[in-house]
Symmetry: C2
């Protein structure tokens, strides 16, 4: 499972305050603990007004790169900002994200075409988030056409089929499960990603819905996830699910992660 650590995001109040105060120690610590918890990418999102987003991101990226060797996920709603922030990074990471909206792909794909950068891609376009699995797969097809055009190998893409909230869904997560399975079937080396917590919006006991969702999503092909890597419940469930699905013979990875203190009641390292 590819873990994208989500804790350095200016929309989280304590992080927003640290960004305003240029509190490098606070940001460095978040980078360090997420790296130690086994994150594959450290997401860096400024969440400030556009006029100072790029300079804020530069400061954040510099600070995080002083604290850890873990690659970054440069995170902005603006494809232009993502493309420019790539230059601040001292090694290839993940662009978070493009979609088929506007010219996002045309801005980012040429920039990463001949690099080792990976890229998250949301399955929406200028019409919004398609309702049916078929329509979402049409957006996926258009995306893959662009990827081919710029020679971005499928293994460098993290496709996010965009889970919607369960509270107002008529058929649960069936659309997403269908899309996930089809994507993995068409491109076995592609990554399927998603946020672990959007699904439970507006429901009580959200944690429980998130937990069940992660298990079902891993079963459907999710192999990359944006989450708090210090969330011990979810981490444990992911290791357990991989073992139950037969992807962890003799439960060796499960047991090792437990021994490292990544989940369970054992004292964390």
């Amino acid at each position: 499972m590819i873990i994208i650590g989500e804790k350095i995001n200016g929309s989280i109040p304590s992080v927003g305050r640290a960004i305003e105060a240029k509190d490098a120690g606070f940001i460095k610590n978040l980078a360090k603990v997420q790296s130690e918890a086994g994150s594959d990418f450290i997401d860096v999102c400024a969440s400030v007004e556009v006029s100072r987003e790029l300079q804020t991101l530069k400061w954040m990226i510099d600070v995080v790169q002083e604290a850890t060797e873990t690659p970054l996920a440069v995170d902005s709603p603006s494809a232009e900002v993502c493309a420019k922030a790539i230059d601040f990074c001292n090694k290839p990471g993940l662009v978070n994200s493009v979609s088929m909206e506007g010219n996002k792909v045309e801005v980012v794909f040429p920039k990463i075409a001949n690099t080792k950068w990976e890229c998250a891609a949301l399955l929406c376009d200028d019409t919004g988030i398609p309702k049916t699995a078929e329509k979402r797969l049409e957006v996926f097809e258009a995306l893959m056409k662009k990827a081919k055009e710029y020679r971005i190998d499928p293994s460098r893409l993290h496709v996010d089929p965009l889970v919607e909230m369960l509270a107002t869904s008529e058929d649960g997560i069936n659309v997403i499960v269908k899309v996930m399975k089809e994507i993995r079937k068409q491109y076995p080396t592609i990554h399927v990603t998603g946020a672990a917590s959007n699904v439970s919006f507006n429901l009580p006991a959200r944690k429980i819905v998130n937990q069940a969702f992660v298990v079902l999503a891993v079963n459907a092909g999710l192999d990359s996830v944006i989450l708090d890597p210090l969330n011990r419940d979810i981490r444990g469930l992911i290791y357990a699910t991989e073992a139950l699905l037969g992807n962890d013979e003799m439960c060796i990875e499960y047991i090792n992660a437990y021994r490292k203190g990544l989940f369970g009641t054992q004292k964390p390292l």
Copy 2:
């Protein structure tokens, strides 16, 4: 989801002591709390030597029936004891269990043939628990032949495909998932049951493995489960999974169960 409450079992030390001491109040309380937590059947298992098993079961059944209207699951490794204990019950319940071992089916099926009793059936025979899905489905086929012979409708059967422990498994729970799906495909009205906790034997943080297992099992067709109905984590995950699978439109059952206090941090009733 059909809930078979497992708490009245003489192999649990506190219950064993209550049975020895003929502590009817203790047993009655376990019956009452499990009934209030929404159990569909209250399992009653003596776990004493064969010579006094039937008389012990009679006492237990009498006590439980004084405490609750919920039907019983008469639970014994002996098919003869199950068949005789049926006569102690004042309404139809569940026989727990038969298998294709020895003459178990021939002892129990004629007894429940023209009744509303339901019956749990394990997919093992005199050769033990078959290793492959194909062999287990052969045992299932033999079982269904017997059921047909005695006119036991599939909707009265709770088939337990026998989950083995993950710690020594080479392919996770893939065999079980395949068997569960095939059983439900062949007989859409049949019930698929199982114990929620055997799978995690010999692993650390067992609770996490059990949680992930239940979600995957419900996804594969599990609609009947033997568990502690007061286990709030598992109950919540089952409600969440049903909603995620599209079996609970607008999450109404999930939200109602939460309001009743069956799971979540809300104070239980």
